[in-house]
C-alpha cells in the first residue's frame, strides 16, 4: 500500500520535475529585473536614422489600421504561437486569451512594429500545468522577440526589461502611456498564487523595443 502511494506521488511529481529543470536551466529572475537591466540599450549609435529627412511627417494611422499581428516567436524561451485578438470586458479590464496555449494581442492598442506600446498577453499556466508564457519571467535584456504581421513584415524586438508588479499596483502609465518608439509589452501572471481568490497576485511585464 505504501508503495502504491509512493508510485502515485512519483507519477504526480513527474511533470513538476520537468518544470523545475526548465526553470533551473535558465538565469535567475531577480537579476533580470530592475534598473541594471537597461545596460547597453541605445548606446554607440554613430548616425541616428532619419536625421536629414522629415521622418514622422504625416498622419499616424495610415497602414497601421490595416495590419495586425499573426504570430509570436521568442526563441530564448522556445515560444512559437499564433495570436488571437483580445478586447476589454464591460468593466474595461483586458480579457485574457481563453486558451492557455495561445497568446493574444490587445486590438485596441498599437500594432506590434508600429509606434506605440503594443500589448501581447498570455497565460502562465492552465489548471493542469504550464501555459504559453510560463517562462516569460526568464527573459533577459537583449533577448529577441519576433512578431509576424498580416502585411508580411516581421517586427524584431529586443527585450529591455523584465519586471514583476503587484496587480493592485499595476503600472498603467508604464505599460500603456505613449512611447516615441515601436515597443512591445508582454504580460503574464506571476508571484504568489492566491488560492482563495484563484488568481496570481503579480503581473510579469516584459518590455521590448523594435530594432528593425
Amino acid at each position: 500500500m505504501l508503495v502504491a502511494v509512493l508510485l502515485s506521488v512519483l507519477a504526480a511529481a513527474a511533470p513538476a520535475e520537468r518544470t523545475a529543470q526548465a526553470i533551473r536551466a535558465g538565469p535567475g529572475i531577480g537579476s533580470s529585473a530592475g534598473p541594471g537591466s537597461v545596460t547597453g540599450v541605445g548606446t554607440s549609435v554613430s548616425d541616428p536614422a532619419g536625421v536629414g529627412g522629415s521622418t514622422g511627417v504625416g498622419s499616424a494611422a495610415s497602414s497601421a489600421a490595416l495590419a495586425y499581428p499573426t504570430a509570436l516567436r521568442i526563441p530564448a524561451i522556445r515560444v512559437a504561437t499564433g495570436l488571437i485578438r483580445l478586447s476589454l470586458d464591460p468593466a474595461g479590464v483586458l480579457q485574457p486569451p481563453d486558451a492557455p496555449g495561445i497568446a493574444g494581442w490587445f486590438a485596441g492598442g498599437p500594432v506590434p512594429g508600429d509606434v506605440g506600446p503594443a500589448l501581447l498577453a498570455g497565460h502562465i499556466d492552465s489548471h493542469a500545468g504550464p501555459a504559453v508564457f510560463f517562462n516569460l519571467r526568464r527573459l533577459r535584456p537583449g533577448d529577441e522577440v519576433q512578431v509576424d504581421r498580416s502585411d508580411g513584415r516581421t517586427a524584431l524586438f529586443r527585450v529591455v526589461q523584465v519586471a514583476a508588479f503587484r496587480k493592485d499596483r499595476f503600472p498603467t502609465e508604464q505599460v500603456y502611456a505613449p512611447t516615441p518608439l515601436a515597443e512591445l509589452r508582454l504580460v503574464t501572471c506571476g508571484g504568489q498564487y492566491d488560492r482563495a481568490g484563484r488568481r496570481y497576485l503579480d503581473n510579469i511585464i516584459v518590455q521590448a523595443v523594435l530594432v528593425n
Partner: protein
C-alpha cells in the same frame, strides 16, 4: 533493504526538484520600480539661415553612449534614439568641422528614465540657441490626442494655427517660439497654419487617440509649410484598467507542491524506518 533505500533516495530527488519552482517564484521581485527602458532623444535643426551642422551628443560619464548626427540641415528632425538616462552635452559644429574644433553651440541635457526630449537649434544664426524641449509622454484622456506647435518659419512675424471647424490652437506665435501641449479630439482634421489674420495653408492630418504630436512650421522655398510629427503613440482610444488575469494556478506551488513534498518525505521516512526495523532483528539474532 537496499531496494528500500534506493526507493527512498529516488523519492527525495523529485522532492527536491519540486521545491525549486517555489523558490524561483518567491524570488520574483514584486513591486520593482522602473518600467521604462531608457530615455528618448531626438535632434532638430530649426534655424532657417544656419548652414548644415554636425550634432555631437556626448555622455558626461560614459563615452560609449556618445553619438553623432552629421550634415543636418534646416528642417530636419531625427527619429528618436533610446539613450541611457544620463547627463549629455549636445554640441553643434559646422558640417565637416573637426570633432575637436570649438563648437558653435553647446547645451546640457539630463535625460531621465522614461522621458523624451527634442533638442533643437532654434532661432536665427545670429542668436541661435540649442533648446531642450521635453516631450509629453503622459497618457492623454480617453479618445484624445495631444498637440503642440514649434514655430521655425520666418516668413511671417507671427502665425496662427487652428483645426478647421474647431478652436484655435494658437493665434499669435512668434518665430522661434513653441507652445505647450494641449489636448485635441482624435480623428481626421484639416490643420490650418498661416500668418496671424492671413491666408493659411491647409494640411490634412489624422490624430490617433492617445497620440502625441508636434506641428512644425518651417519655410520651404520661401513659403510657410506645416508638418505633423508624431512624438509618441499610446494605447488608445481606451487603455485597459488594472492588471491582467493570465493564470489558472496549475503550476502554483504553495499547496500542491508542498503537499506532495510532505507526502514524499513521510513516505521516505517510513521506508527508512521500515528498513531499520528489518535490520534490527537481524542484529539481535547476530548477538
Amino acid at each position: 533493504m537496499i531496494r528500500h533505500r534506493r526507493l527512498a533516495i529516488a523519492m527525495l530527488i523529485p522532492a527536491a526538484l519540486l521545491v525549486a519552482p517555489a523558490a524561483v517564484a518567491a524570488a520574483a521581485p514584486a513591486g520593482v520600480p522602473a518600467g521604462q527602458s531608457g530615455a528618448y532623444l531626438r535632434l532638430a535643426h530649426l534655424s532657417p539661415d544656419t548652414p548644415h551642422v554636425d550634432v555631437y551628443v556626448a555622455s558626461v560619464s560614459e563615452a560609449s553612449r556618445n553619438f553623432t548626427a552629421k550634415g543636418v540641415g534646416y528642417g530636419a528632425v531625427s527619429d528618436y534614439q533610446l539613450v541611457q538616462p544620463d547627463t549629455y552635452t549636445v554640441s553643434m559644429r559646422p558640417a565637416g568641422a573637426p570633432a575637436d574644433s570649438p563648437p558653435v553651440l553647446t547645451t546640457t541635457l539630463t535625460a531621465k528614465l522614461g522621458a523624451a526630449y527634442t533638442v533643437a537649434g532654434l532661432g536665427k544664426y545670429a542668436d541661435l540657441a540649442l533648446r531642450v524641449l521635453e516631450d509629453d509622454l503622459s497618457m492623454p484622456p480617453d479618445g484624445q490626442a495631444r498637440l503642440r506647435v514649434i514655430q521655425a518659419s520666418i516668413t511671417a512675424p507671427s502665425v496662427e494655427v487652428s483645426l478647421k471647424g474647431s478652436d484655435s490652437i494658437v493665434s499669435n506665435l512668434a518665430f522661434a517660439q513653441t507652445t505647450g501641449y494641449r489636448t485635441v479630439p482624435a480623428g481626421a482634421w484639416t490643420l490650418l497654419a498661416g500668418p496671424s489674420g492671413g491666408t493659411p495653408v491647409e494640411l490634412p492630418v489624422t490624430f490617433a487617440a492617445s497620440g502625441v504630436y508636434t506641428v512644425l512650421l518651417v519655410d520651404k522655398n520661401g513659403k510657410l509649410a506645416a508638418e505633423l510629427h508624431t512624438d509618441a503613440i499610446g494605447t488608445g482610444p481606451v487603455a485597459p484598467v488594472g492588471g491582467v488575469e493570465t493564470g489558472m494556478g496549475g503550476t502554483a506551488t504553495p499547496l500542491s507542491g508542498l503537499a506532495a513534498l510532505l507526502l514524499v518525505l513521510a513516505a521516505g521516512a517510513a521506508a527508512l524506518v521500515a528498513a531499520a526495523r528489518r535490520r534490527r532483528p537481524q542484529g539481535v539474532d547476530g548477538r
